[in-house]
């Protein structure tokens, strides 16, 4: 679930055209590092390359593997949403509209006996009566 949060956020972020600029203001840290120049050099020689390598690795992991997974997940959500919407339109709503159609069909079938032929009317009426009677007796 948390992944999907990330995913949605990531999708949004990636698609957002104007990315927010991160401004780094020269604060105390900057001044300190300015003073401790040798340390800086030391770090540059030792830690930084390693960190950069690790960073590159995590970056790759982040942008390809994790993000890919997250993108996949969020795209999955959208596809899922389309599916749910499809079900909503054709299954849930279709059922309701289907009932209405069925009622009309039955109504049509019930009012067609109006052929205008009295003998047919009589035969139908008597036949149904006899049928109901038979059912009643066999009940």
């Amino acid at each position: 679930m948390a992944l999907s949060v990330l995913g949605v956020a990531a999708v949004l972020f990636r698609k957002r055209p104007g990315r927010a600029k991160v401004e780094t203001s020269p604060g105390i840290l900057a001044r300190l590092s300015y003073q401790a120049l040798f340390l800086d050099l030391f770090y540059q020689k030792t830690v930084v390359p390693f960190s950069v390598q690790v960073g590159k690795a995590t970056n790759w992991l982040d942008s390809r593997a994790w993000d890919g997974l997250v993108h996949l997940l969020s795209k999955g959500q959208v596809v899922g949403a389309q599916l749910v919407q499809f079900a909503d339109r054709y299954l849930v709503d279709g059922l309701v509209n289907g009932v209405a159609k069925l009622a009309k069909r039955v109504g049509h079938w019930l009012s067609t006996p109006r052929s205008g032929q009295i003998q047919t009317y009589l035969i139908r009426a008597l036949a149904v009566t006899v049928l109901v009677l038979a059912i009643l007796i066999l009940w």
């Binding site: 949004l12 957002r16 969020s74 959500q77 959208v78 949403a81 919407q85 709503d93 309701v96």
Partner: protein, 569 residues
């Protein structure tokens, strides 16, 4: 003034409707003024009600009520049928009443520009106002049903005449759907008429002497007489008083809806079935997935003010009905079905959110987000504890501000271009910055950002659901997913429509896309402020509802225990 205040709330719009109808056709443009005056009066009365309510809470929990005999029918074998004109407010209904008066007022302003058949429009609108208030205020089930049904007709015409392209389909669908729901409710009403009686009215009819002034002990003595057979069946007065119906002693022993009736239908006890019917009936109104498909159609086709009223007030009657009718009268069934109710709530939340994610029409997106948000109401009610039920009421209240706001804003865009397709716009922020700001705030309010009222409501519901014994723990977790998805579709929409370089499907829209006008500010800003205020000061609402909610829960638990006792006897 005070004792008739509730009636004024119902009848002022009714009288105004009559006035509008009889306006001469040359003065048709005054219809909107009549409507404005009537709803403003109502708004003012609502404010008065708010202050009165804070002072007074009666022993029954009714701060204000009015009761007048309506009719009594002597139906021979069916006994005496009676109904009262009984209206009142308590903690459950006060927020809904206040919400209604405000939203109906907003609706009038939003419909200021209606030009065609003005008189008919405002007359129907005022009828709708009256029946909405009536259904929130009614404490007699038959009276409630009258208002509940009567809401359908004005709404049918308001959607069907002043709506969009497929308005006829949408209005008929709305009508048929809600009618099916109300027929379910009617079936239960018939069952209740057959199985319950009103002790006080029965006592008065038979002539049981009043020994004390205490209504409760009088009722008890009548109940004893009925139990011992001193009062015959055909002398019982049957009246569906919503303050009396919850008492299990008022249900006749071995009647259809008595707890000792062990008849079953498809494996459900008849009480369970009755509860289920009510759940479906109100669930359609709420709407509860899978009974919701009328809602998107109705919203998309309805004009903006009607969408506002529909989302702001009408949906709440579903949740309100569950709290007022289904849960108190059938506490046993409510408890045993609570997990299912919660399940449907969670289903609505997730389903609504997912479907919203896939929408291309802005209004439909908001409509489905309503489905999702009303799911929280179900979840909160099902939790059956103070947090949950308060949260449910809070959610109804908060959604009552936020969704009208969203519909109004969608309407603003539609007014300009007559197009609501999300994909047809891009970078609207460039041309309509103020609009973008307001809609952004509205989206954040709707997705439940802390600081807005929706957050409080959802938080309460989730806390209630987590601590409830009726709701499995996985359900609120799934509901959380709904919130996340909510953030997803709103932010995505924001990003798609408002940010980035300006792109419109038709370049001619460029001129018509002007920013918010003062009238639109007047409509939207109060709602934004309300959403913010109620997010920062939840106690304003909770103070109103607390008493009612705790009484409701107490009543449900007590009566459930009593019913269990009776069943095991």
């Amino acid at each position: 003034m005070e004792d008739k205040l509730l009636s004024y709330l119902i009848f002022i719009p009714l009288i105004a409707a009559a006035l509008v109808v009889f306006l001469p056709s040359k003065q048709a443009q005054f219809a909107r003024w009549v409507a404005l005056v009537a709803t403003s009066l109502n708004l003012w009365l609502g404010a008065g009600l708010y202050f009165l309510f804070q002072g007074a809470e009666d022993t029954d929990g009714l701060a204000l009520f009015e009761k007048q005999a309506w009719f009594t029918l002597d139906l021979g074998g069916l006994g005496q049928w009676s109904a009262d004109y009984f209206v009142g407010v308590d903690g459950i209904s006060i927020t809904m009443v206040l919400l209604s008066v405000l939203i109906m007022w907003v609706g009038v302003i939003a419909s200021w520009k209606v030009q065609t058949k003005t008189r008919g429009y405002f007359a129907l609108y005022l009828l709708l106002t009256s029946s909405v208030l009536g259904s929130f205020l009614a404490l007699d089930l038959l009276l409630f049903y009258l208002f509940f049904e009567f809401m359908l007709l004005p709404m049918y015409f308001l959607i069907g005449i002043w709506g969009g392209k497929r308005r006829e389909y949408a209005s008929i669908k709305f009508f048929l759907y809600t009618l099916v729901g109300s027929l379910f409710i009617l079936a239960v009403i018939i069952g209740l008429y057959a199985s319950t009686y009103h002790p006080e009215a029965t006592g008065e009819y038979v002539g049981v002497e009043r020994t004390t002034d205490d209504a409760l002990s009088y009722a008890r003595s009548v109940q004893e007489d009925v139990e011992t057979g001193m009062i015959a069946q055909d002398q019982l007065v049957r009246k569906l008083d919503l303050t009396q119906l919850p008492d299990p002693r008022n249900t006749l022993v071995d009647s259809v809806l008595s707890i000792t009736n062990h008849a079953h239908w498809l494996g459900w006890s008849l009480r369970g079935l009755a509860f289920l019917l009510l759940l479906i009936g109100f669930g359609i109104k709420l709407p509860m997935v899978p009974l919701h498909t009328w809602l998107p159609d109705a919203h998309v086709e309805a004009s903006t003010p009607i969408s506002v009223v529909l989302a702001g007030v009408l949906l709440k009657i579903g949740g309100y009905g569950l709290l007022r009718i289904a849960y108190p009268i059938f506490p046993d069934a409510a408890v045993s079905f609570s997990t299912w109710v919660a399940g449907f709530g969670v289903l609505s939340i997730v389903y609504g959110a997912y479907t919203a994610l896939a929408q291309t029409d802005l209004k439909k997106l908001i409509a489905y987000s309503s489905v999702s948000h009303m799911g929280f109401v179900l979840l909160g009610i099902a939790a059956l504890n103070t947090e949950g039920v308060s949260g449910a009421i809070y959610q109804m209240f908060s959604h009552g501000f936020i969704s009208p706001l969203l519909f109004l804003l969608a309407g603003v865009l539609y007014d300009r271009t007559h197009n609501r397709n999300i994909a047809d716009y891009r970078g609207l922020g460039q041309v309509m910055p103020k609009y973008t700001a307001v809609i952004g705030v509205a989206f954040f309010a709707s997705l439940g950002l802390p600081g807005f009222s929706g957050f409080i409501a959802e938080l309460f519901v989730l806390i209630g659901a987590f601590s409830s014994e009726f709701v499995p723990t996985w359900m609120p977790f799934v509901a959380l997913l709904g919130i996340v998805l909510g953030a997803g579709y709103y932010l995505w929409t924001l990003q798609r429509m408002f940010f980035g370089p300006l792109q419109l499907r038709q370049s001619s829209w460029r001129e018509s896309l002007t920013d918010l006008t003062p009238r639109e500010y007047l409509l939207t800003l109060p709602l934004v402020i309300a959403a913010l205020l109620f997010g920062l000061f939840p106690q304003w609402v909770l103070n109103l509802t607390n008493g009612g909610v705790s009484r409701l829960i107490e009543g449900v638990t007590n009566n459930q225990a009593l019913l269990q006792l009776l069943e095991n006897l």
